[in-house]
Each structure stands twice: as structure tokens, then as C-alpha cells.
Assembly symmetry: C2
Homo-oligomer: 373 residues x 2
């Protein structure tokens, strides 16, 4: 970031208070399908809105001159396409994602945003930023763009198998994020299951239901089990599940949306009459498509670390990376991590026994490969 | 069924061969939202197409005179709305679903169709018709109407938790049904997971993958893991999973379809220009809606019993019940149960140890309430 002294006293004062409130986000430029320059464009757009400065980790030669509000840290090594991201992050501490995560761990940035590889970002986050105190397992949360009833779904893939106490923590983590970042004053939290009755679900889901129904959380309410169709009908603001089911559910939603919108497009091209109709409806359908745009949410949120991390999809364009940086900055400003810890403590849901030093490593492996720790 | 002698020799000969090929389906008239008469109308329509005769179990007083091709068995007791269907079926052997299932078990009908309650049909099927020899667990399969790429998904709710050998059997059961009833010569069978690599999934999914990848089935092929979006993109003809995940996935698909088609309808009513466009596109969109109509598939198929059972959705109208009866008859004609047994035997996937007599009861409980047996 280039700094030049403001011309007036008033401008000085504004600049000083902006600097005080300014949040630094570490952004990995590698892993995006459209290349590092597209990520840099997203960083520039986010910074242009004020209140956030970006540390951008990538190849300085590829990235060119730093845009305003962005500081480039030369980190040409990428592990975004590594077949085994956990091992790649371990063996390449100079990689852009590992450096970006370390910047967050060391306090040079308040949150991490990754440009594409979920596995590498998960591993780097767990190794460097580490789990927040008392958190069993970080979870990946997605803000699903359902028309009229968006829902925060977690876990969508960090943990293929979870225990009941993990699901209970996910509820607190999701609620704190929904309050701080999504701006919901009193989120309704549900448990994904194959029936609405408390007796429906796997043994672990039934056990988690019992704990959530018995507990009390002043800042949010537990609405019980939510079925698959309830995910898209506004039955809850936050829905909690294991990472296997959540990943399948999220991808089914994305797949059905794409297939159906494609079929509607196909119907609109199925003859001259339909074509005329499709042209007339295009502006309204474009509104719907924008509402369903996954880039608006900025990606998936890795909750349960000492600092917030946002993981972008590799196919995102600049708008998606800009949204991710803004979400990350908002998470820092609203102290989602602190609020999560307080809520877990108040609910008696903190992990009691501190894991051994190896715990972090085992947990990282657990996050990207399946199996209980 | 009323019988009157045909007028000509040729007609006699046709009638005799039809009677020889005629399949009897036992249909429970209780449980449909639109009432027993709607179910009877469905039975009549199915019978009118020939080759099938229906034994209809319900209140004779409510049903009125039997339509052509339909024989009414007076069974006024309904357990379709019972809160605990397993217990209700046990304690009410005179209920319509219990009687219908017994008719199949005793050979008076070749297949069972239920008019609405999944839990009651599952319980009655397990108690009376019982598991096929060598089958661990029956599974509920749904033929999901994806535009251009319909998929048979199982289990969608009979077993909240399954072991790897169950998933392997589901693959054989689904493939045999796809060949016999859906008319696919060489179905492609996939395993639902949170990643395409064989190493992705829960420990049970990974174990099932290893068995399926190592085995060989001449009549179908294993295409590996299928992700949530692969469910709707034609990645496989048959997709296998546990009943918890399958139920969530199916309901997410239904929910997203309904929400999106509603949003498209909303867009088509959002102003005079869109309204005009919507009117022009209506015939094409109606074609898509028809293609997505869940009643066309006739309901869900309970596979793994000694006889086929089809479970309709309570909200079905006559067309749905007619489709269910035709699917059931086709399953009998093509001997899906026999083909499944042969495939399991050839693959060495039959259940080795015969369970105790209590096994059937425990399995029934396991099918409608969660937890391993």
C-alpha cells in the first residue's frame, strides 16, 4: 500500500481513524482458474470500498504492479493443484497459501482468503492458524443462495464423519457467523435429518438433537430437525450436518439449479414462440440468476480456527474474490471468532481435554481425508 | 373382476393368453391424501391397459362398486396415519396394508403397492413378504426425474445407517431393477460420495468402493464415486448410498426443483413484459414440468424383499397410482427379484449367515427407525 500524506487536517484525521479501523486480509493469489491477475482485480475492488487492505501472496512477476490498497508479497510457489494438498502444504512452507496462513497466524493479517484449492487452504489453516481454543473440529460453511431464503449450511466437506459434540459446536459456530457476518439478529438453527421428529436420523444426529434441544442459547434458537426440502424453504437460517451429507446436499443444490436453469433456457429456445417469450422474460430471469450467483457469497467459510478463513471456488472471477475479502473483513470487524468462543463457553460446549501437539496434524488430515481422529 | 365369455374363437384365444400372462397386484387404498376412490381410479386405469389385475384393499363402503379389472377386498381399518407404523402394523393384522402384504406373501398377488404411508408399507413388507434370501436389508429406491438424465437413487430412507456390504447389495438390487423395469441394458452404477477419488467418503463408503471396484458384474458396470452434482448430470444410471444421505439428497432435489420452478413462475409474473413472455413460454415450460413430475415414476420401490413393493406418495393422484401398479406388474413380469438374487449369488454378495427368526422384526424396526441392528 502506498502512503502519501493527506493535504488537510481534516483529511489527516479521517486517514488516521480509517487506518485504525482498517482490517488486513491475507489473500492467496494462486489456484484461481482465471489466474492471479483476476484475484488481484478482486483485491483491488474490495480495497476500493474502504476499510480493508489486502496482503496478496503470489508471483510478483505474474501479478505486476500492486493495485491501490493491495500489497504484494512475492510467493511464486503454488500448491493449489497438488494431488495431496496436506502433504504439499507441509513440504512447501514457502508456498503462497502457507505464507498467507502464516501472515494470519502471526498477526500481520486478521483473516485468510484462499484463491481456489479447498484442500490446501484447509491444511494451511489448520497447521498455521490452528483450531480455536475448545473447538473440536473446524467446519466449512456455505451460504447457499436460495431465492428468498438463503441458508448457511455447515459442514459442507471439512469432516466426512463427525460426533454429536461436533454437530453441537457447528451449531454455535454457524449461529455466531450468521449474527456477525450475515447480520441475522437471532438466527434459527436446524439439524439436517431424514425426518422432522427428534427420533429420526443416524444415532449421532439423534444424540446431537437431544443436546441442542436441552441446551439454551440466548442469541439463537434451535428449531429441531430440518429435512432436505427444508434446506431451501426457509425452515432455518443455519443448518448443521456432517461434512459428507453437507457436501452431497450442497452439490445436489448446485447441480439441480444448473440443470433446471439450463432446461428453462432450453425451453426458451425450443421454437419461435418460446424464443420470443424467453426474450421478454430475460430481464426477470437474469434477476433470478443473479440471486443464485454463488460468487455473491464469496465462497465457503472455514469456521472454528483462531482466525476466520474464506475459501473461494477456483472458477470465481474478480467479483467473487472481492466478496470473499469483504466477508473476511466483516468477520474480523464483528469478531466472529471471539463471539463463537464466548457462545461455546456459555453453553458448556467447549472441548474439555486439550489434544496433544500431534492433535493439530491429525485434525488437518481428518479435515481433508475421511475417518475419525 | 367380472368375466363374460368372448364372442369369437380369436377373442377366446386372446383372452386365454392374457389371463395366463395376467399379473395380480395388491394395492392398499388407504393413505392417499385424495382418498381411496382416487386410488381406485388409478387401479382402474392401470387395469384398462391390460396385463394386470388389481386386488384393492380398503373400505368397500367407501370404495363403492369395483371398477373393471379391479377386485375389492373389504379392509376398512387403516394404519396409514399411525404415529408408530411398525407397532400399528404389528397390532392391526386386519389393516388394509397388512392384508395387502399378506396377499402378496401368500401368492394371491405378485407385488404390493401402497397408497401412502411409507413407514406402514415398509413394516408390512418386512413382516409379511420378508427379506429375499441372502439380502441384508431392503432398500427404498426412487427414480428421480432429472431432465434428460433420470437416475435411480437408493437407499432413500429405509436404513438411516448401513454397512459396506449393504451398499454393495444395493448396487446389485438397483442394477437388476434398472435392467428389468427401467429397460436399461447395461446400467452404470455409482456410489454417492463427497469426492470422485476412491479415497473420498466415510470409512463405510470407501470400503464399499473397494469391494465394488474389485468385483465384476457382467450385466452392469461400476463407475466409481458420484458427487451430488453428478446425481443430476447423468454421471450414473443408478446411485447407491445410505438411507440418511439418500433421503436428504432426494428431498433437496425435490425442494430445489419446486423452489426454482416457483421462482421462474414468479419471474414470469413480475411485470407486463415478463407476463407476456411467460404466456408464450408456457407450453415449453409445461413440457419440462411434466418431465419433472414425480408421479410418472409411480413412487419409490422397496427392493430386497421376496416380492417387489412400490410405495406411492400420499399426495399422488390417480395417474401416480396407475403408474405404480404398472411398475409393480413390470417388476413381476421381468422377475426383478429373481434377477437380483442371481446377481448377488454370482457376485458372491449374498448374506452368508441366516439371521434368527427375530431378525425380520429387528430389521423392520431398523428400516423405519434409525440405528444399526
Amino acid at each position: 500500500m502506498r502512503w502519501s500524506p493527506p493535504a488537510t487536517t481534516q483529511a489527516w484525521s479521517r486517514a488516521i481513524s480509517a487506518a485504525a479501523a482498517e482490517i488486513v486480509v491475507a489473500l492467496d493469489a494462486n489456484g484461481a482458474d482465471l489466474g492471479p491477475r483476476e484475484v488481484a482485480l478482486g483485491a483491488e475492488r474490495a480495497a476500493a470500498q474502504g476499510g480493508v487492505r489486502v496482503l496478496l501472496f503470489g508471483s510478483a512477476a505474474e501479478l505486476g504492479p500492486a493495485p491501490s490498497g493491495v500489497e504484494i508479497v512475492d510467493a511464486p510457489v503454488s500448491v493449489a493443484k497438488a494431488p495431496d494438498p496436506v502433504r504439499a502444504v507441509r513440504s512447501a512452507p514457502e508456498s503462497s497459501i502457507a505464507q498467507a496462513a502464516r501472515a494470519v497466524a502471526e498477526g500481520r493479517a486478521g483473516a485468510l482468503v484462499s484463491g481456489g484449492s479447498t484442500g490446501a487452504a484447509l491444511a494451511a489453516g489448520l497447521f498455521s492458524i490452528r483450531r480455536a481454543t475448545g473447538v473440536h473440529r473446524p467446519a466449512l460453511a456455505a451460504h447457499v443462495p436460495v431465492p428468498g431464503a438463503p441458508v448457511l449450511l455447515l459442514d459442507v466437506g471439512a469432516n466426512a464423519e463427525v460426533r454429536p459434540e461436533h454437530l453441537v459446536q457447528f451449531a454455535h459456530m454457524g449461529a455466531a457467523f450468521a449474527r456477525g457476518v450475515l447480520g441475522l439478529a437471532h438466527p434459527r438453527v436446524g439439524l439436517l435429518s431424514n425426518g422432522e421428529e427428534p427420533s429420526r436420523g443416524t444415532a449421532d444426529v439423534i444424540a446431537a438433537h437431544a443436546v441442542l434441544a436441552a441446551g439454551s442459547a440466548p442469541a439463537w434458537s434451535f428449531v429441531g430437525n430440518v429435512e432436505g426440502d427444508g434446506l431451501v424453504s426457509g425452515a432455518a437460517d443455519v443448518v448443521v450436518c456432517d461434512g459428507f451429507t453437507g457436501n452431497v446436499a450442497l452439490k445436489v443444490m448446485e447441480g439441480v439449479s444448473a440443470t433446471l436453469l439450463g432446461a428453462v433456457r432450453g425451453a426458451a429456445e425450443s421454437g419461435p414462440r418460446s424464443r420470443a417469450g424467453g426474450l421478454l422474460m430475460r430481464p426477470a430471469l437474469r434477476g433470478l440468476r443473479d440471486e443464485l450467483d454463488p460468487e455473491r457469497a464469496g465462497g465457503a467459510y472455514l469456521l472454528g480456527l483462531r482466525r476466520l478463513a474464506v475459501i473461494c471456488h477456483g472458477r470465481f472471477a474478480a467479483a467473487g474474490f472481492a466478496a470473499a475479502v469483504r466477508v473476511a473483513a466483516r468477520g474480523v470487524r464483528e469478531d466472529v471468532v471471539g463471539a463463537t468462543g464466548e457462545a461455546l463457553a456459555a453453553a458448556g460446549a467447549l472441548r474439555r481435554r486439550s489434544g496433544p501437539a500431534e492433535g493439530e496434524g491429525a485434525s488437518a488430515a481428518g479435515a481433508s481425508v475421511p475417518g475419525r481422529p
